[in-house]
């Protein structure tokens, strides 16, 4: 038997570890287009960018276990296509950039995502943030300049970069086209709290305006950002954080359905013999009765684990029982660090959900809120309230029933 894992980051290596801990002893090939082992990403917008951590501290935990797992790890090799032979079972032939091919019995796709940009051009002083090299290049550029920093996009990464740059004493403007920060994940009231937090820390937060153009000086280096309302914001350094794109282009000619990532069923199965996990996977979460794609750290580990068990069941390995495994129905959890605030959320709120404050207050900057949708609690969110968030998450994992979760706080 053989398993191919495409992507050696969080989801891919979590899957590799789980294959081994499940007793699978045959071949595991892991490929990644990156030349070295991808780093752990969360510190890249936080401790590493702030200069608090040396770069080597942003290493994936898996790095120190690779030797135990006996992997055929091929770094610097990307997968370029899958060809499915209609006469054979199994996932097909996966071709790599060096022209070689792998024909596994089980395929785990964990190719993650990459940042969207506002321009196709490479402009000196304009940064995206995904890899360690990006973080170090931004850090160097911040050291080499002292003018204002403009962050385009107030998603998590943008908001964290803005906070880190303020902690380095820089003038920061945070631009967001939506009416409040983090609108893709948070209801507006929380976005407003985050906007106020940034303003209180001296960030010039501009909401509801888009970027018309990036302006350069005669040497071709960034000098400012022209906004959709015609105003110009001066910039020595620009960081773009306007969301990510799942890495699926290499699958364009494959039979896999691509729709906001790789479309999978409720067991993360994308096609016979093929599962997907992490930022790249869109699957049906029966707990929330909807298709979702989650771009979060802990989620990538969890989905990688599930995908490994699912592929073992698919290959008929050992006594893996689909009945016992069930569907993949997590309550996704994530955190974001901004200034002295630890924002954490478990669950999946909608903009229209009712928000109920259960602990603390917005004014003291330490609180927990629940989101209610009918008889269900869709999510819990806390600012510097880790215990409450986790207790509520444990309840939500048992059931979304509103009465059960609210009883924790009464």
């Amino acid at each position: 038997m053989s398993v191919l894992i495409v992507g050696a980051s969080l989801a891919g290596l979590s899957a590799a570890e789980t294959l081994r801990s499940s007793g699978y002893k045959d071949e595991i090939v892991v490929v990644d287009g990156w030349d070295s082992l991808p780093s752990d990403r969360p510190p890249l917008s936080k401790q590493v960018l702030a200069g608090e951590w040396p770069p080597e501290k942003a290493t994936q935990r898996a790095a120190s276990h690779l030797h135990e797992w006996d992997l055929d790890l091929r770094l610097g090799l990307a997968a370029t296509s899958i060809q499915v032979d209609p006469d054979s079972s199994g996932p097909g032939r996966v071709t790599l950039t060096d022209g070689t091919a792998v024909e596994p019995d089980g395929l785990i796709i964990a190719t993650g995502s990459r940042p969207r940009n506002v321009t196709d051009q490479r402009i000196d002083g304009v940064h995206l943030l995904r890899n360690l090299e990006d973080s170090l290049a931004l850090r160097d550029d911040l050291d080499a300049t002292d003018g204002p920093v403009v962050v385009i996009g107030a998603g998590f990464i943008g908001a964290e970069v803005a906070a880190t740059c303020r902690s380095l004493g820089r003038d920061v403007t945070l631009i967001e086209a939506a009416p409040s920060p983090l609108m893709r994940v948070f209801p507006q009231a929380i976005g407003d709290f985050v906007a106020d937090l940034h303003r209180a820390n001296g960030v010039d937060v501009r909401l509801g305006v888009g970027v018309a153009e990036l302006e350069c000086d005669p040497t071709g280096r960034i000098s400012g950002v022209r906004m959709s309302d015609g105003s110009l914001v001066e910039a020595a350094v620009v960081v773009v954080g306007i969301g990510v794109i799942p890495n699926v282009e290499w699958l364009a000619d494959s039979p896999l359905r691509l729709d906001n990532g790789i479309h999978c069923d409720e067991t993360c199965l994308a096609a016979p013999g093929v599962v997907a996990a992490g930022d790249v996977a869109s699957w049906y979460n029966p707990r929330y009765r909807r298709q979702m794609r989650v771009e979060q750290w802990e989620h990538a580990i969890q989905q990688g684990e599930y995908a490994a068990k699912r592929i073992l069941a698919e290959m008929g390995f050992g006594d893996t029982d689909m009945q016992a495994l069930g569907a993949f129905d997590p309550v996704p959890w994530f955190w974001s660090d901004q200034y002295d605030k630890k924002i954490q959320m478990a669950g999946f709120p909608d903009a229209s959900d009712e928000m109920v404050l259960v602990e603390g207050s917005f004014a003291e900057g330490r609180f927990a809120v629940l989101f209610r949708r009918g008889d269900e609690c869709s999510a819990v969110l806390g600012v510097n309230r880790p215990r409450h968030v986790m207790q509520a998450r444990m309840k939500l994992e048992a059931s979304l029933d509103w009465d059960g979760v609210i009883s924790l706080f009464r």
Partner: protein
């Protein structure tokens, strides 16, 4: 099996508590308390899971 936590790294986000509440507890003072430094063998799988999912790589296990 002995569990230890590096408090210089731990940021009290309580992920470990969510996985093995018998062993880990984050209290209202926002600190992590190890309830059982030598947890019984039947908790090994969950303790290992907590170590894996700790975002700060703050947990470790001896034998």
């Amino acid at each position: 099996m002995k569990v230890s936590v590096d408090y210089d790294l731990c940021e009290s986000n309580a992920i470990c508590m969510g996985i093995a509440p018998e062993v880990f507890e984050v209290r209202d003072d926002d600190l992590l308390y190890i309830l059982d430094e030598n947890p019984p063998e039947e908790l090994r799988a969950r303790v290992e899971e907590a170590i894996k999912r700790c975002p700060k790589q703050a947990l470790s296990l001896e034998d």
